[in-house]
Amino acid sequence: MITSLANLVRWEWFKLGRRWMPWILLAMLLLLSQLFVWGGFFSYRNMPATAGDIALTLGTGVPGERGTGTVVRVTCNDLLAGQVTDLPKDIDPGLVEQLRQRCKQAAEQQETRLREAYASFTLPGSIPGAMGVAQSIGLILIAILAASIVGTEYGWGTLRTVLARGTVRWQYLAAKLALLMLVAAAALLVVLAVTGISSLAAGALAGGAPSGTAPAVGWADAFAALGRAWVALLPYVALAAFITVLTRSSAAGMAVALGYFFAEQIAVSILISVFDWFGTVADYVLGRNITAWMLGSQRDGLGGATVGAGVRIGEYPGELHGLLVLVAYTLVLAGVAFWLFQRKDIPGASGG
């Protein structure tokens, strides 16, 4: 059985590799994931290296507050280096110290931002980000590919030609799904490799790393992000396959999978804002659990931040919950797809 399945996967690849579609989708995936790397690079290049200026309105005694006196701008770098010349002679020394502390804090924050920005486009920190982008875009692309791989067999009528050769029905669908899983993994590996190369190039162009401790993203996190992205794609493969087998149409498979992808985000945010109880239901919808799963170990440090439609990260289900829901969706949708595929008559065979 394994040999037979492996043989079918091999021949599915024989067909798929000769189509334009997977290569176009891969190019789109690479392009968009590279936008993340190079977007980070240009953002870093345009970031000020220092804490900048602080505006002080004399008369209020508080930096930044509106007063009635003259406005004085202080360059933090100069202030911290003790080279301030443009402050009035009679200024309160306590206020200068307060300004200095504020500048010190701003300088530290700017350094952190610089380090984070630098890490986002250099190895290994660029990998989780690129994988996040690849996963988000990949959901759409893999749903298109899955619906196409399964649905065109109905559209072209080739399913009859395949099954008339004694091909076991469930094995044929399993071979298609297995190939999609392999293609998804291979595409993510290609994204990883290309991101690695472009990160090296971007790092070299950016020069040395900013001083201080870099964000704690290791190689293990980078590869874990790849694994997470791959798992997160599987429910959409199953959803697209299920709808396509049910309707015998690749267009319907694509439309429903993509429609659900966008509609879920909008519907969930509206329903949560209207009904409090919907928060519990939303913990079991696909998109929120994909986000929960993708956040993974990052969620501890990002609890207050927001993702998607203004939902706080802390409000998302836990990582394990996310994984279990994704697995359940994948198994149920794929299971029903197999059942239908096994039982339904093959179209074009009725009448005459």
Binding site: S4, N7, L8, R10, W11, F14, K15, R18, R19, W156, G157, T158, R160, T161, V162, L163, A164, R165, G166, T167, V168, R343, D345, I346, G348, A349, S350, G351, G352
Partner: protein, 311 residues
């Protein structure tokens, strides 16, 4: 006991309100060419689809190569080749790549076999062209090559001459006849009666999903055969013959009488007439064509005697 490659028992298939196949009990003997005849919508393609496991029967059973398949066709299908309706292949692959794919998923075969089959169906020159660029005739020929992959014992060919020009049709007919030799069985589904008559040894005739007739072509036609007579007194002869019961179907055709009587009983006919002092001046066997036989048994024939022709 006859060696049957296909045997169905009270096979039925219902699509909603339409009963496409109605209690069909079909028997296809091993070897030779078996014709599955019927007008459009008679259930031929549905029957072939059930035999291939593409459509589940509503009732009844199917035995292939002497074994009840009962929803598990795979073993039998590996010994079969088929084209059902218009051959469907991957449009972006070449003819050669398509055959290579279908050979590959079966798990055996070589490129040499693919090239041999392409050559046999005269597609070698266009073997590397995309299937989408093929004419209907070329698609049919590729379909035949596909059906022959793996040298199957049983071939199911559904309207294989569709879209072919007269020369192509003749080529396919010759090929089908050749394929039906050497122990292989070919089931040829067609509504082209002269095509079936030329190549088939046995036929089954379907109408509205039901089996109307089945058997050797010669035997079926002989049942409906007869003789054309000229006697010394046609009027008296007509009366005598109509009174017999076994030669009741008597009709006038100009100055001749057409009598529906099995050829093996023609001696009884002359004896009977002689006993009534009517003497036969001329007796010619009448041969029924498959077309007129078909029209007669499917109830569409008007004036069956007019369609008979002297041999």
């Amino acid at each position: 006991m006859q060696d049957l490659v296909i045997e169905t028992q009270t096979l039925s298939k219902r699509f909603g309100r339409i009963l496409a196949v109605d209690s069909l009990s079909l028997q296809v003997p091993r070897g030779g060419v078996f014709g599955l005849l019927g007008p459009n919508g008679s259930g031929k393609t549905t029957t072939l689809s059930i035999l291939l496991g593409l459509v589940r029967p509503t009732a009844g059973s199917v035995r292939l190569f002497g074994r009840d398949v009962n929803g598990s066709h795979q073993e039998a299908l590996r010994r079969m080749g088929a084209i059902v309706e218009t051959p469907a292949f991957y449009p972006y692959l070449s003819g050669r790549a398509n055959l290579r794919f279908f050979q590959g998923i079966s798990g055996h075969g070589s490129m040499k076999e693919v090239d041999r089959l392409l050559s046999m169906v005269k597609l070698s020159e266009r073997a590397n062209s995309r299937f989408s660029t093929y004419s209907l005739g070329m698609k049919q020929r590729l379909g035949i090559a596909y059906a022959l992959l793996g040298e199957p014992e049983l071939l199911l060919l559904d309207e294989p001459t569709n879209g072919l020009d007269p020369a192509g049709m003749a080529e396919v007919r010759d090929l089908v006849r050749e394929l039906g030799t050497g122990g292989r069985t070919v089931v040829l589904s067609s509504h082209l009666l002269h095509e079936v008559e030329q190549v088939c040894d046995n036929v089954a005739i379907l109408s509205k999903g039901r089996l109307i007739a089945q058997g050797r072509v010669k035997d079926l036609l002989a049942q409906r055969g007869g003789v054309r007579l000229k006697t010394t007194d046609d009027g008296k002869a007509e009366g005598v013959l109509k009174a017999t019961g076994w030669a009741a179907n008597v009709s006038r055709d100009g100055d001749h009488l057409n009598v529906a009587v099995p050829p093996e009983r023609s001696w009884q006919l002359t004896k009977l007439l002689a006993e009534h002092s009517v003497f036969v001046a001329e007796m010619v066997p009448l041969q029924v064509s498959l077309e007129s036989y078909f029209l007669e048994v499917t109830g569409e024939e008007n004036g069956s005697a007019a369609n008979r022709r002297p041999s």
